[in-house]
Amino acid sequence: MVGNIVLSTLIVCIPSTLISILLAVPSGYILKIKRFKGRRFIIRAVYTLSGLPPVLAGLVVYMMLSNKGPLGFLNILFTKWAMVIAQVILIVPIVILYTLSGLKNIFVLLDNLDYLDIRGKKRYLIMIREYSRELIYASVLGLSRAISEVGAVLIVGGNIEGETRILTTAIIHEVSKGEFSRALMLGLILLAISFGFNTALQVLQGDIVD
């Protein structure tokens, strides 16, 4: 039972983080280096969306994917796909913002490298290291939001046992039944997974950056 919930949690949260990184990092890069009309407006919008209440994201995705909605033909409401979509909408703005500030650091570093006249292979290695570090931080940030989020996935997933029940929605379910100790146990598992991921990413990072 719990094993199933943990598995579903990973099957939803890891892809939604990966997809978000794939979408958000290039977008952040373009927003940082290209100058175009409406750029400031987009950045302001991204800031606003980074504080999007999950229930609102869930409601919008629900209405889009409902049979009455424009994407109803996809027939993916109350599946893990719907949960991934909702989470991507929540994670992307946060990762874009992070990319913007991460690139700022990297550009400062580039100036320093120019100043110190570091070129060739050494310069290349330093750049790889810095980009990887920023990417890993962005992943940690995205995954944290994905794994702790409940409002959106509850609405679009439906908390179906063995299908769309993940740790956070299971906690809500146990609380509503008054099973507080079971809810707490699930919460501890959630924290343990989060701790595991952070450790794993730190090991990854330790390999690249000291």
């Binding site: 892809p15 609380v175 509503s176």
Partner: protein
């Protein structure tokens, strides 16, 4: 090397479980929270799935939301305990009929020490009036749930409005509202199953009033399938069969030691 091992591990975790075999038919059923939270559906339906090869995915929401989902055709079936919703769905052609599943009764629960106040109450509306006239704390679900609709009906029968200071609107499901009533030492209208299932956690609450014959306290759960589906006879066969009867009995014995869910004749 270590990081590649980590990446590999993550990918393996990612893709396991993606390719589980699915049974031939899967039906999505929106169900009211009270019967789901009691564990009844998860107890009874696995043997249905086994026998007929139809998998049921339950989505537990308030009755109001369940009806909305059903109208939007986002679910194939519905389990609710508010008949007026069913009449609407019948009128609009969303369903061709409905099957009564099981029933239990609504009861008034409240702080143990207040029991003596209600000794002379001969109906649920009298009990409600005692609460209002003494301005005692009362937790109302205040959502679009069947239990809340029933509560309002009782206030109507009592020819009064719940406009006293002790009236608390929780806006939450049955389980959480019972917790709230327990903490606040308040009265609350609940169905028997949810109350008895949670009884050992509700140390300050006890049954204050239960009427064995009052129509307004009858709590029937109905099952209905979208008129677009053809599986209705299968469900009828299952609900009328001896297997279902035995499962209901077994569930009552296991969790209540009492006949809480009763079969609809």
């Amino acid at each position: 090397m270590k990081r590649y091992a980590m990446l590999l591990l993550m990918l393996v975790v990612l893709f396991t479980g993606c390719q589980r075999l699915k049974p031939a038919t899967t039906l999505k059923i929106a169900t009211t929270t009270s019967i789901y939270d009691s564990g009844f559906l998860d107890f009874v339906f696995p043997s249905f799935e086994e026998e007929y090869g139809i998998k049921l995915n339950f989505i537990s929401v308030g009755s109001g939301q369940a009806v909305k989902m059903f109208r939007n055709k986002d679910v194939n079936g519905i389990i609710i305990h508010e008949k007026s919703f069913l009449y609407e769905l019948l009128d609009e052609g969303y369903i061709n009929g409905y099957i009564p599943l099981v029933y239990n009764r609504f009861i008034l629960v409240g702080p143990k020490d207040a029991k003596s106040l209600f000794e002379n109450a001969s109906s649920i509306q009298e009990a409600f009036l005692i609460i209002k006239n003494n301005d005692l704390p009362f937790v109302s679900r205040a959502d679009n749930s069947a239990t809340y609709i029933r509560e309002l009906e009782i206030w109507n029968l009592a020819r009064t409005q719940p406009d006293f200071d002790g009236y608390i609107k929780s806006g939450q499901g049955m389980g959480m509202s019972l917790n709230l009533a327990n903490e606040k030492r308040a009265f609350i209208l609940t169905d028997e199953a949810t109350f008895y299932k949670m009884k050992d956690k509700l140390d300050s609450l006890d049954v204050i009033y239960q009427g064995p014959n009052e129509e307004v306290l009858m709590n029937v759960y109905y099952f209905a399938l979208s008129s677009a589906r053809e599986e209705v006879p299968i469900f009828e066969e299952f609900f009328k069969g001896s297997k279902f009867k035995a499962l209901v009995e077994e569930f009552n014995q296991k969790y209540f030691k009492n006949q809480v869910y009763k079969l609809c004749e």
